[in-house]
Symmetry: C2
Subunit: 316 residues, 2 copies
C-alpha cells in the first residue's frame, strides 16, 4: 500500500499500529522514530519496525506516510521538527484524541507540499507503552478523520484505505464537532473517573483500605479508566479546554439537581432520572457498541476476579 | 443447613440466592414470597422455589431463615407485614445496599423473639428481575454483615455459614461504617454514572446520535452502570442520604479543583492528579478485586463488540 511508513511515538497506539502494519503488509519499510532510546530498544527487541531512529527529521525522510502518535501536547513540536525532512507529496496524519488544536498545529507547522489528514482511532486500553500494544486494537473500531475542505481527496482516500486495512471503519467529521462529541463520550468520563478515584485516595487510611477491599462494581470500573496514561490525558484536557468545560458545566448542573433531590428526599425525581438513562444504554447496545451478555454467560463488567482469601486478608 | 427458608422479593438477588440455595442443598423447603403474581409465575416456570405465595405473612410461617431481598425502601413495610407470622427463634436477614436505616427498621418492626442479622452481598449486575439471576452471582464476592452488639452470636454464625455455602466471604462491620465505605465505592459511582448518561440524554438530537455511535470506552462503562434498577437505586439514595451527600461534597470539591486547573491550563496539577490515581488501581488489582489482563488476551473493559457496518449505518 505504501513504500515507506514512519510512525513517530511508539506508545500503545503507535506500537499497535506497527503490529497491524506488519501483520497486514501495508508497507515495504516501517520506520520507528521515537526520541526515547529505551523505546527504541523495546522496538528492536520485539522487531516492531525495520528501522529505528531517535532523530525525527531523519526518520521521516522519503516516507510516503507519517503517523504522529505522540501525546497531543507534543504534536506541534514534532511537526516543527519534521517539517524540513518531509518529501514532496508525503501524507502526514496523527492519532490524537483532540482534533481542532492538533489540526491547527499541523497546518501551521508543516509545509504546503505535504498532505495533512488528522485522524483519531477510537481505541485504546488503560495500559500504555510499546510492550502493551497489539495488532487487533483497531479491529471493528471507529476511526474519525478531520481533513480540511481543501485537503487533497486522494490523500484522504489513502488514509481511509490504510485504516480500513487495520480493521477500522472511517467517519469524516469537522474537528470542532469531533471535539464536542468526544468531550462527552470520552474526555468527561475520564475526568470524572480521575476525580472520584482521587477523592478515594484522599480518604483517611482506614477507610481507604476498605474502599480497596470492597471496591464494588462501580468504583472498580472507574479505577480502570483512571489508570490511563497521565501525560496523554493531561494533554487532552489542556487542548480540548472549551468543549470539556462546556460539557462539564452541563454535568455539574445535572449533578446539582440530583444532589438537591437526595437532600429533599425527592424519590420521584430520582426514579425518573434513573429510568431515562436506561434507554440510552439500550440504544448503545443496539448500535453494536456494547454487548448485552445473557445471564448464564459471564456478565460484561461483572466482578471479574475472585478475592483470594490470602490477598484479601493481607489488606486488613 | 436449614429446614425451611423464605425469600421475600424475587429480583436479581433473591432469585440468584434461590438458585444458589437449590444448587447447594441449603434447605429442605424453599418458599418464594413475592407480592407480584407475575414474579410468582416466573418462579414457578423456572422452578426456583418449592412453594410460592403472594402473602408475605403466610410465606414466613415456620421458616428458620427469612431473607428480605426487596428494594431497601420496602423493607420496613415488609418487616411490619411479616412480624406476626415469624416463628420463635427465626433468623431474619436482608440483602440491602444500605445498612443503618435498614437495621433500624428491622429492629423496630420485628418482635424480640427473632434474631436480626442485616447483611449486604456485594454482588450484582445491571440486569434486574428473576429471569436474570444465576447461582454463581455470590461466588468469591464479599458479604458484609452488620449485627448489633447484642445479636445472638449463633444466629450470626448461621448466616455466615449460609453465605459461605453460597461461595461468599464474610466481613462483620458497623452499619454506619458500611454505609460510608459503600457510599464511596458504590453509591457515588452510580450517582455519577446516572448523571453523566443523563447529561448525554439531554443533548441536542444530532449530537446524541453521535454520542451513541462513538461511545468510547469511558462512556460505555458509565451507561452499563446507569442501566441499573431505578427503584433499587432511588431507595439507596433516599436511605443513605448523609453518607452520600458527604462523599458527594468531597467529590465536588475535587472536581472543582480539576476544572480550575483545566481553565488555567495548569498541566502540572493535572499530571500529578492523574498519576496518583494509578496507584489505587494497582492496589485494587493486588487485592484481587480486579484482573490485570495481559495485552495479548482480551482487554478487561476494552471495546467488546464490533460495530457491524449495517447497524452502525442505521444510526446515521
Amino acid at each position: 500500500m505504501f513504500e515507506r511508513i514512519t510512525i513517530i511515538g511508539f506508545g500503545l497506539i503507535g506500537s499497535s499500529l506497527a503490529r497491524a502494519i506488519k501483520q497486514n503488509n501495508l508497507c515495504k519499510t516501517l520506520v520507528c522514530a521515537d526520541p526515547s532510546e529505551e523505546v527504541g530498544i523495546t522496538v528492536k527487541v520485539h522487531m516492531l519496525a525495520d528501522e529505528v531512529t531517535t532523530d525525527l527529521a531523519e526518520g521521516v525522510k522519503d516516507s510516503d506516510l507519517v503517523i504522529i502518535s505522540t501525546p497531543v501536547g507534543a504534536m506541534r513540536d514534532v511537526a516543527k521538527t519534521i517539517a524540513s525532512g518531509l518529501k514532496d507529496g508525503a501524507i502526514v496524519t496523527d492519532v490524537g484524541s483532540v482534533k481542532t488544536q492538533v489540526a491547527l498545529a499541523l497546518q501551521q507547522e508543516l509545509p504546503d507540499h505535504v498532505h495533512v489528514v488528522p485522524g483519531h482511532p477510537i481505541a485504546g486500553t488503560e495500559n500504555s507503552g510499546p510492550e502493551n500494544g497489539f495488532a487487533e486494537l483497531f479491529r471493528d473500531r471507529w476511526c474519525i478523520l478531520t481533513p480540511l475542505s481543501d485537503t487533497d481527496i486522494r490523500a484522504v482516500e489513502k488514509v481511509t484505505a490504510f485504516w480500513e486495512a487495520c480493521g477500522s471503519q472511517i467517519e469524516i467529521m469537522d474537528p470542532e464537532h469531533h471535539d464536542l462529541v468526544l468531550g462527552i463520550t470520552s474526555h468527561l468520563p475520564h475526568l470524572i473517573a480521575y476525580t472520584i478515584v482521587g477523592t478515594a485516595t484522599d480518604l483517611e487510611d482506614d477507610i481507604r483500605g476498605e474502599v480497596i477491599k470492597f471496591s464494588a462494581s462501580g468504583f472498580r470500573d472507574f479505577t480502570r479508566i483512571a489508570a490511563s496514561d497521565p501525560t496523554m490525558w493531561r494533554d487532552v484536557f489542556l487542548n480540548n479546554k472549551d468543549a470539556v468545560l462546556e460539557v462539564l458545566q452541563r454535568f455539574t448542573e445535572d449533578l446539582t439537581g440530583l444532589q438537591k433531590a437526595i437532600r429533599k428526599g425527592d424519590g420521584e425525581y430520582l426514579y425518573r432520572t434513573f429510568s431515562e438513562t436506561r434507554a440510552i444504554r439500550r440504544a448503545i447496545v443496539d448500535a453494536g457498541q456494547a454487548t448485552y451478555v445473557y445471564p448464564t454467560q459471564k456478565q460484561e463488567g461483572a466482578p471479574p476476579a475472585p478475592a483470594p482469601k490470602k490477598a484479601a486478608g493481607s489488606q486488613e
